[in-house]
Symmetry: D2
Subunit: 100 residues, 4 copies
């Protein structure tokens, strides 16, 4: 098991223990991911980036964790390998945006 698989296992254990997985279809997980991304954005509302980081560091940290947790649940539900999908996307981006 690599580190991502271990993290996904911790998250799956968490939701299995609460019998939550029945609600976790990919569409509702994608909705939740969007909501968490907006909660992260809320930490930056009406503030410069620096002010936000200074005053909301703790909450920013938690909201990034929430976003990652939902993304990892989606990887689990859809049987995606985190490392693989990110490396594939970076390769695709490298073609789209070549280094000058």
């Amino acid at each position: 098991m690599n580190d991502w698989e271990k993290l996904i296992k911790q998250i799956d254990d968490f939701r299995n223990a609460r019998d939550w997985r029945q609600y976790h279809n990919p569409k509702d997980l994608a909705i939740s991911l969007s909501i968490e991304a907006a909660e992260l954005l809320e930490d930056f509302q009406w503030r410069s980036s620096k002010e936000a980081v200074r005053s909301n560091a703790e909450n920013i940290r938690e909201e990034i964790a929430d976003v990652m947790i939902y993304a990892l649940m989606l990887c689990s539900e859809l049987d995606l390998d985190v490392q693989e999908i990110i490396e594939e996307k970076l390769k695709k981006n490298a073609v789209k945006y070549p280094v000058k």
Copy 2:
């Protein structure tokens, strides 16, 4: 280096090579994360979860990768440890939602 540190390094190498890091303040990264989360959601628009997964599997995979890439950039910029912030959040959630 553990597995996410390696991924963060790959992502940082990618954006350093393109001199993009000057634009990557946390506020604009949080904006981008929200935009990518909405692009993922778009794959589920006007469809049931199952239909979406069936017809947009490839794109769903890429959008989840994009979300993870921005989340990892935020971890890099803010010097956050992926494992640590996720485990902390799971612990906090475990208190909030105890197993019955």
Copy 3:
């Protein structure tokens, strides 16, 4: 008929002519509203507010229209009066944020 009732009628005529209303349950309309809001935000990505307004004026205008169209469809589906819900919210906000 007041001005927003007229606009809602135009929007409803548009979607009735295309037989789209069968898909327009409030949950999927709320998803679409979030997606459009993110498309508006995309016009401001990696730019200052002023630069965005200067370079993307036309698109910003269209995305605001899209957001309003989905909000008006929701008002139509849920039988809400635009003026009434906005005035109620302003009153509630006035209590929450009193003028000093």
Copy 4:
């Protein structure tokens, strides 16, 4: 003054009285619009559309109002005519999606 202009005037009076307009640049308003759209979406999280409408009617109403208030502030800041931008967008959509 048409009905939209009257509503925008009420909203502008509200924020002028609180001296908020100095913060209301279009980029931060677009961020806020995205956050409010996500709060609306939250009323539908983990629920069918019907269940959400049944259990969260009051809050859905308020969140739609919040979305419209931010959209109208953007119209005010950017000097856009609500009726005009919506009619233009409907015309453009009519070309893109002709009636069969």
